[in-house]
Amino acid sequence: MSLDWHAAWQALIHHPLFGVGITLGAYQLAIAAYEKTRWVFLQPVLLSMLAVIGILLACGLTFAEYKDSAAALTLFLGPTTVALAVPLFLNLRRIRQLFWPTLITLLVAGVVATVLGITLAWVFGAEQIMLMSMAPKSVTSPIAMLVANQIGGIAALAAVFVMITGIIGAIIGPALLKRCGVHHPAALGMALGLTAHAVGTARALQEGEECGAFSALAMSLMGVFTAVLLPLAILLWL
């Protein structure tokens, strides 16, 4: 009797839970590696991303197929974003105490982050469509994708830039900020949430609850401001 190994393998890698399975596996390995070494470059999101890409390439699967089979996980991103209201509310007293510093930082640093990204990419000679995909790089990916679409960029590319920015920000952000003399948890959180959105916020939550709350605040306000002001600014400028 000959066993049909090929059919079994195909059934395995095309199962609707395959994406969830490899993501869960890669994430747990990444967490274990990070806890063991505490090495900043082993950020769980980055490590799991590389592991999952490796497995997909080895199995000959496309991103579109993985996206469908990991939908069970991505579905929870919505309620989790909603859940950020809880740490925001719990730290409201502290945020109220620092109301003006928060607002000023948000407006000034938010504009700097966006304008600097576009200007540098333009100076380095990137295409117009790349520039427009890069403009919303500092905000959470659902907003960035919408905004990129509106101003003539590619939504999926915007999501990629958002992800790269977030991962690098989370990896080097905290150490860099501390070296530059930024010690207040609110200032750390603001910087992480403002530039590195959800990935930065996930990293900020590891630093402590106050840091996480300010990061969540910065992320959501930066998102709201970008969604409303960036398309307007581009419209007026062009």
Partner: protein
């Protein structure tokens, strides 16, 4: 307990999505949902035990949930390689400068406010 909290979160997200379609297409549903929940908590004045439990459980796994969108990088490898140095340089430089600037500005503003309160 966990389920009741989770239901609240899902309800807010669904309301957010409805509002997104009806009134504010520029803001995604989950962000509107978060603002709705925040306003609800402001009115209520406290976080109930079920909601607290559900939100801390979900937020603990936020990095895991971000892995699938991050894998999307592989679908655009070619476009990125075409403009690789421009993109990498602009992303990295602007990130480094703006993250330090944001942290520095906030720290200075906090220091100033504290000095004023002490005086």
């Amino acid at each position: 307990m966990l389920l009741r909290g989770l239901s609240w979160l899902v309800l807010c997200q669904l309301l957010g999505t409805a509002l997104n379609v009806l009134l504010i297409p520029i803001l995604p549903g989950p962000i509107i949902g978060m603002l709705l929940l925040f306003v609800f908590l402001l009115l209520r004045g406290e976080v109930g035990e079920p909601l607290h439990l559900a939100s801390t459980s979900l937020l603990k796994y936020l990095p895991l949930l971000l892995v699938p969108p991050a894998v999307g990088v592989m679908a655009y490898a070619e476009d990125i390689f075409a403009d690789f140095w421009a993109i990498a340089g602009a992303l990295l430089l602007s990130l480094l400068i703006s993250i330090v600037f944001a942290g520095w500005l906030m720290q200075k503003l906090i220091d100033r406010q504290q000095r004023r309160e002490d005086a």
